[in-house]
């Protein structure tokens, strides 16, 4: 432990600095009345271009991404690089589709995607399905942020052997995080994101200039990786893709982009911006993070070239591949710089964890508490319930890591990506047309969930010897195709979902099942800041949404 003392000191100092910022954030751009969910849960819907850039960037590119993507590249090579096309295609998609969600939410005061679904399809049940799917998919994602911090702590040697000693630093970190999120809401991660991203950018720019210089140039790095994959017995690794995993590669990129888009935390980040212009401009500027992510991914190859050996895992005989990047920094850089890098990853976990817990809390408050438990809840009560829920969500995430095998959270996150995609027909198609019937959307969701789980259950993981939930690459031969190619599970599941929704829609139409009343009108999807109808609604607080 003593040889890591400089790293620990710098890590702790930076951590304390951002914690202080988190508490101060409640006074940053403070409103007159914080007791409103718009303020606590969406930062007053007032964020401009820069804040949105840091907030959404800090939100989408999480600490787990920073340790897991290079770990994937380290282990499997090119297949792990899907993160780059994935984060390229997401912005044009946001630009075209999410902008409509922003407008309709701005016009009607929606806080969550489920709020939109409820009004659009006149169906609290469908909204409940969307909300629960969102909460379930988000929980393991928060837990994974803890795994990101843990990888760093483990490398610094501050984790002991007993259950309590191993997790104490994380419990403390999360307790602080929970306290300032409770107090400051979305303003806390928005302010901290500035520090987090500045640190990350500095660390990565230095790393991708210094490490290739030290390791003999990019050519040598790629050749070292190539040599490793040539020597390994696994058929699906290599520095480029092979015939079998190309379909998996692009379906995973597309499916992940759609999923990210639907995750409650990304929608929360987008809804917090103040107008359409801010979002559109950000879609051109956010790809700077994709460049960063691509470079971070390549740290995996640098680790190969540097001969990094990942630290042992929790279970005897396994390795924790998430420690690849922390170990690389520990080996190659002076202690003070490693300390900064580790702090960047640690703080990088706090921003998304805060936003995710806020997003989950918003869903619970708006679509479960207000819908089913207390219909006449005031704005102050809503804000209060959301604050308490955010605490519960974080305790749940810590409990997942402390009491369960971390592998369980990774599995759940894999499942989370597949299930969140099942809300796509209701949310995405719903933004354009109301043709799909509310009952059919529920049926499609159930079908997509069913086939998604079945497929994930079938996938073994040869490396860890597990029979189920071993990955998201599904062999097409299981469907009777004569091929060794694989495809992304979520992609198949959402296609089945949409197909079932379309067929059941026709059936329900034929049976003349009531469709409910659409609470939105076409111009709502184009509304912008300063829309006169919104101003009128805000001054006369008649809640016409919940009275329908």
């Amino acid at each position: 432990m003593s040889d890591h003392i400089t790293e620990i000191v710098i890590f702790t100092l930076l951590f304390l600095l951002v914690s202080g910022m988190g508490f101060v954030a409640s006074r940053w751009r403070a409103p007159k009345d914080m007791a409103h969910l718009d303020e606590w849960g969406l930062g007053g819907r007032s964020f401009g271009g820069w804040i949105t850039w840091f907030l959404v960037g800090g939100d989408l590119y999480t600490a787990y991404t920073f340790v897991a993507v290079p770990a994937l590249i380290f282990g499997a090579g090119a297949a792990g690089f899907f993160a780059v096309p994935y984060t390229v295609i997401i912005y044009p998609l946001f630009f075209l589709i999410l902008i409509r969600l922003w407008s309709v939410s701005h016009r009607h005061g929606f806080v969550t995607p489920a709020d939109f679904v409820r009004t659009r399809f006149d169906s609290p049940t469908l909204a409940l399905v969307v909300a629960i799917t969102g909460i379930v998919a988000t929980m393991p994602y928060i837990a994974l942020q803890l795994i990101g911090i843990e990888a760093v702590l483990k490398t610094m040697g501050v984790t002991g052997d007993s259950v309590l000693a191993r997790h104490l630093p994380i419990i403390i970190a999360f307790a602080i995080l929970a306290a300032y999120t409770y107090q400051s809401g979305l303003r806390a991660p928005a302010l901290i994101a500035f520090v987090k991203d500045t640190l990350i950018y500095i660390v990565i720019i230095v790393a991708v200039i210094w490490l290739p210089y030290k390791l003999g140039g990019w050519n040598a790095i790629f050749d070292a990786a190539d040599a490793k994959f040539q020597a390994s017995p696994s058929p699906n690794d290599g520095i480029i893709l092979n015939a079998n995993n190309q379909v998996q590669y692009f379906t995973l990129a597309l499916g992940s982009a759609l999923a990210l888009f639907l995750y409650p935390h990304s929608i929360t980040g987008v809804l917090a911006s103040k107008n359409r212009d801010v979002i559109k401009r950000n879609m051109s500027a956010l790809p700077a993070y994709s460049l960063l992510l691509g470079l971070i991914a390549l740290l995996g190859y640098m680790a190969i070239a540097a001969g990094v050996k990942p630290l042992p895992g929790t279970n005897p005989g396994t390795v924790d591949s998430n420690t690849v990047v922390p170990v690389l920094f520990d080996q190659q850089f002076p202690a003070w710089f490693t300390g900064v890098a580790f702090a960047a990853i640690g703080i990088g976990a706090l921003v998304p964890a805060a936003i995710m817990s806020i997003a989950a809390a918003n869903l619970f408050t708006r679509n479960i508490y207000k819908e089913y438990l207390r219909k006449d809840a005031t704005h102050a009560q809503e804000a209060n319930v959301a604050k308490i829920t955010s605490l519960v969500v974080k305790i749940g995430a810590v409990a997942c890591i402390v009491f369960l095998d971390p592998q369980f959270s990774i599995d759940l996150q894999l499942i989370g990506g597949v299930i969140i995609l099942q809300t796509a027909p209701a949310v995405v198609i719903g933004l354009y047309t109301r043709w799909l019937h509310r009952g059919a959307l529920i049926a499609g969701w159930a079908a997509g969930m069913g086939i998604g789980f079945w497929m994930l259950w079938q996938i073994p993981n040869a490396a860890t010897g597990r029979k189920h939930f071993g990955g998201s690459a599904f062999p097409l031969s299981e469907f009777g195709f004569d091929t060794t190619r694989t495809i992304y599970v979520g992609f198949v599941a959402v296609l089945v979902n949409a197909l079932v929704a379309a067929i059941v829609t026709l059936a329900l139409r034929a049976a003349k099942t009531p469709e409910g009343v659409d609470g939105t009108e076409p111009s709502d999807y184009l509304a912008d800041e300063g829309d006169p109808r919104i101003e009128r609604q805000r001054t006369t607080p008649v809640d016409n949404v919940s009275s329908t």
């Binding site: 090119a78 096309p85 295609i89 630009f95 790629f222 520095i239 990129a253 500027a285 111009s523 184009l526």
Partner: protein, 73 residues
Amino acid sequence: MAEPETPRTDRSPWNWLLVVPIVVPLLTFLYNHDEPRIAGFPLFYWLQFAFILLGVTTTTIVYQMTKRKRSKP
């Protein structure tokens, strides 16, 4: 304050340009090669990095071309 008008549509032919950065990065046959390398980067990597630039360029163009006219300062 003049009431800002909500336009009747957000359709624009320029939006079709955004199909390019959505589709091109998914075409694995374009970039799944090692050679030629640039500055040591295999084609697989440098071309996909170049797609980031493609995404930035197209979204910027579409944003500029579809921007709503502001009548007041």
